[in-house]
């Protein structure tokens, strides 16, 4: 029986983690994630989970300890944001290279300098090449549901890769929303017991984790890592199917909103997708065929599915809440790569929005759709990359 609650995104994720009851948790504070691990620490202190925490002295040590714990053989979690994820960067590649199914909510926040504690996607985008699976979440419900599904995906015997569940800092992490919780037992049964694979604590069969691999085999090793990633999509869909049976909530690798017959479309991640859906509705009422595409799985990136979903449109704007200075936004680069392979492709523009917690307003979405409508008519793109909502 689902339980309806009014909670923040952080609280929802912490509750999902409690329901999963992992063996080890690395804890280190960073805004806006702090509150999630604080809540989890209370569950430990109150004996509501069996988890042993490691109260580390940095995020670098947090990920290092999580890698050690995961290699030892058990279910491991941590959570972070922004500079914390940046400090972990070196270790993210090692967690993925060692094929360790660590689950980590990432409460998305801007990167320094200048220092800014508010939400954007620079942190997770900076980690996109680390070999971690990334699931993105529009709201608290998705963050909760993704956190639960993340364990099944990461721990799948064909996958065994670490996974990030991304949710927007403050906008989702600290806003109270109406959510439906699953029962503890339902989550426990859905996730199932942790299955060990080559645990370090198998004393009778000593293993060496983390060898030196020279040019004779390194290239092959990395290709193997990519090949594992190509299997993730199917697993995500299978897990989503099971989750739908349990919760009634449907998930895919992307969400299409009024996109099937759309002439113009916005591609956007996380919380701003919610705002944009309202704007799409307003344009539809005006008779303009607008639509939206929200990727849920960003790594591995579903190139074919994204191209299929967009190729019939006339103009697309990819909106990035992160930047690559001197380049296009990271989401734009992926979506345009996906569409380049399509026989027919829309005109494309890239808007950078909402950096460092700058509000994304319905008027911004309307501005973009108006421009797209013009591009759809003329077929002409003047400026590919622009900043919106910026003070001039």
């Amino acid at each position: 029986m689902a339980k309806v609650v009014a909670v923040t995104g952080n609280e929802a994720c912490a509750n999902a983690l409690r329901q999963v009851n992992p063996d080890v948790c690395g804890i280190y504070p960073i805004t806006p994630q702090t509150d999630m691990m604080q809540r989890f620490a209370s569950y430990i202190a109150d004996g509501k989970v069996d988890t042993e925490s490691i109260l580390v002295e940095s995020e670098h040590s947090s990920m290092s300890a999580c890698i050690g714990a995961s290699a030892a053989g058990g279910r491991v979690i941590t959570a972070t944001s922004s500079q914390g994820l940046a400090l972990m960067w070196e270790m993210l590649f090692i967690a993925a290279g060692d094929r360790l199914p660590i689950v980590m909510p990432v409460v998305n926040r801007a990167l320094s300098a200048p220092l800014n504690i508010h939400g954007d996607h620079s942190d997770a985008m900076g980690a996109r090449d680390s070999g971690w699976i990334q699931l993105w979440s529009e709201n608290g419900q998705e963050a909760y549901d993704n956190t639960i599904q993340a364990f099944r995906i990461a721990e799948h015997m064909d996958i065994r890769l670490p996974i990030m569940v991304c949710l927007d800092g403050f906008i989702i992490s600290h806003s109270i929303e109406r959510l439906e919780y699953l029962e503890d037992q339902e989550v426990k049964d859905f996730v199932g017991p942790f299955k060990n694979f080559l645990p370090l604590l198998d004393i009778a069969k000593p293993k060496s984790y983390g060898p030196l691999i020279l040019p004779d085999m390194y290239h092959e090793y990395k290709r193997a890592q990519h090949e594992v990633m190509t299997k993730v999509k199917d697993v995500v869909l299978d897990v989503a199917k099971d989750f739908e049976k349990l919760s009634g909530r449907k998930y895919g690798i992307l969400e299409s909103y009024r996109l099937e017959d759309a002439d113009i479309a916005i591609v956007i991640l996380n919380s701003a997708a919610g705002t944009t859906k309202d704007v799409v509705d307003q344009f539809r009422e005006k008779g303009i065929k607008a639509g939206l595409l929200k990727p849920r799985l960003f790594r591995p990136f579903p190139y074919t599915e994204i191209a299929d979903a967009l190729k019939h449109t006339k103009a697309v704007c990819v909106m990035d809440r992160a930047d690559s200075f001197g380049g296009y936004g990271p989401l734009f680069m992926e979506v345009s790569s996906a569409l380049y392979q399509a026989d027919k492709r829309p005109a494309m523009i890239n808007k950078i929005y909402g950096l460092g917690g700058r509000d994304y307003m319905p008027s911004h979405g309307a501005q973009v759709l108006t421009e797209l409508n013009e591009i759809a008519k003329s077929g002409k793109v003047n400026v590919i990359k622009e900043y919106i909502g910026v003070r001039e």
């Binding site: 063996d23 080890v24 690395g26 069996d50 988890t51 042993e52 490691i54 109260l55 580390v56 002295e57 940095s58 670098h60 040590s61 290092s64 300890a65 999580c66 890698i67 050690g68 714990a69 995961s70 290699a71 030892a72 053989g73 058990g74 491991v76 070196e90 270790m91 090692i94 060692d98 370090l200 604590l201 198998d202 004393i203 000593p206 293993k207 060496s208 984790y209 983390g210 060898p211 030196l212 691999i213 020279l214 085999m217």
Partner: protein, 309 residues
């Protein structure tokens, strides 16, 4: 606990086996081999990036007969603290029932410098583990660069003895004392030249619950510019000159475990090493004296601490 004889030791199974690619005459593998023999319990090892790591596990070969993990350079302590935490969690939940010991290894670069925070954090958190530093006084794996363990006056590739600057101008960081200041139950300094003392210290550390730190001098003929057959002799000279005193601090009580019969001048330890060659030129007489003064000062301090306690 009796320390075994060499004959008895020779019958024990090697946990760090032959086939590793450490340089001929390197002190580090001797330290590791003895340390791993010093308990009958299963041991899980973590290893910082460095000579020991790159030479002992090159895919698809490993010299480690015990579970071993290497993740990166600065986090041997954090990594093994994670393994130990999973062990405690699984034990608590009744999912694992063996008694296992945990050791983190690192060179001086991975311990004194880049791994210092991770080590300090793991010790403060109280994990039941031993951290063993094999200290060869520089970043030897990358080609003899200065670390905070590099001795005063030494010539390295990043503090070369030049015509203006005569090598390293700063004294070494006293990491053993810094670890003692963490108020952990056991801290010791050891040397492969005194293998029974080293064996006993590791053996004792395993029997003590909580975090332990042992700093072991590990001569490196490549970096020290010495002969390939004099590692043990140089380690002994380090002890007998009081450059590397053998002592332990157990629950705050300092005990010198090996007192040299005769404290010989530190120049005797330095002379066979090319990294100190320039200090024997007349213009560097002052610096050589400073090295002796530092050794005397530290030794006097240690004697006082051991006596007071």
């Amino acid at each position: 606990m009796a320390t075994p004889t060499l004959k008895e030791l020779s019958k024990k199974e090697d946990r760090f086996t032959h086939g590793h690619r450490m340089c001929s005459g390197c002190g580090a593998p001797i330290v590791v081999k003895i340390a791993l023999m010093a308990t009958e319990y299963p041991v899980v090892v973590s290893n910082a990036t460095g000579c020991l790591e790159v030479s002992s596990c090159i895919s698809e070969f490993t010299a480690w007969n015990v579970p071993w993990i290497h993740t990166a350079f600065e986090n041997s302590a954090a990594t093994i603290s994670g393994v130990e935490t999973m062990y405690r969690s699984l034990k608590k939940q009744g999912k694992f029932d063996q008694e296992v010991k945990f050791i983190g290894f690192g060179g001086d670069g991975g311990t004194y410098d880049i791994g210092f925070q991770s080590l300090s954090g793991a010790m403060e958190r109280g994990h039941d583990m031993i951290y063993i530093c094999y200290d060869n006084g520089a970043y030897m794996n990358t080609g003899i660069q200065r670390s905070s363990a590099t001795p005063l006056g030494a010539d390295t590739t990043t503090c070369p003895a030049g015509s203006v600057i005569p090598g390293k101008l700063r004294n070494r960081k006293n990491l053993t004392k810094i670890m003692a200041a963490h108020d952990i139950p056991y801290v010791a300094q050891a040397s492969p030249s005194h293998w029974q003392d080293l064996f006993r210290k590791v053996q004792k550390a395993h029997e003590i619950k909580g975090p332990k730190f042992i700093n072991v001098i590990a001569p490196c003929n490549r970096g020290w510019r010495s002969k390939t057959n004099d590692a043990i002799q140089l380690a002994r000279l380090a002890v007998n000159t009081c450059y590397w005193p053998l002592y332990e601090i157990e629950n705050g009580v300092t005990k010198i475990t090996v007192t040299p019969k005769e404290k010989i001048p530190v120049a005797e330890f330095m002379k066979p090493q090319g990294r100190f060659k320039h200090l024997f030129s007349p213009e560097n007489e002052g610096l050589l004296q400073r090295v002796q003064d530092e050794v005397d000062k530290e030794w006097a301090k240690l004697l006082k601490e051991a006596k007071t306690d």
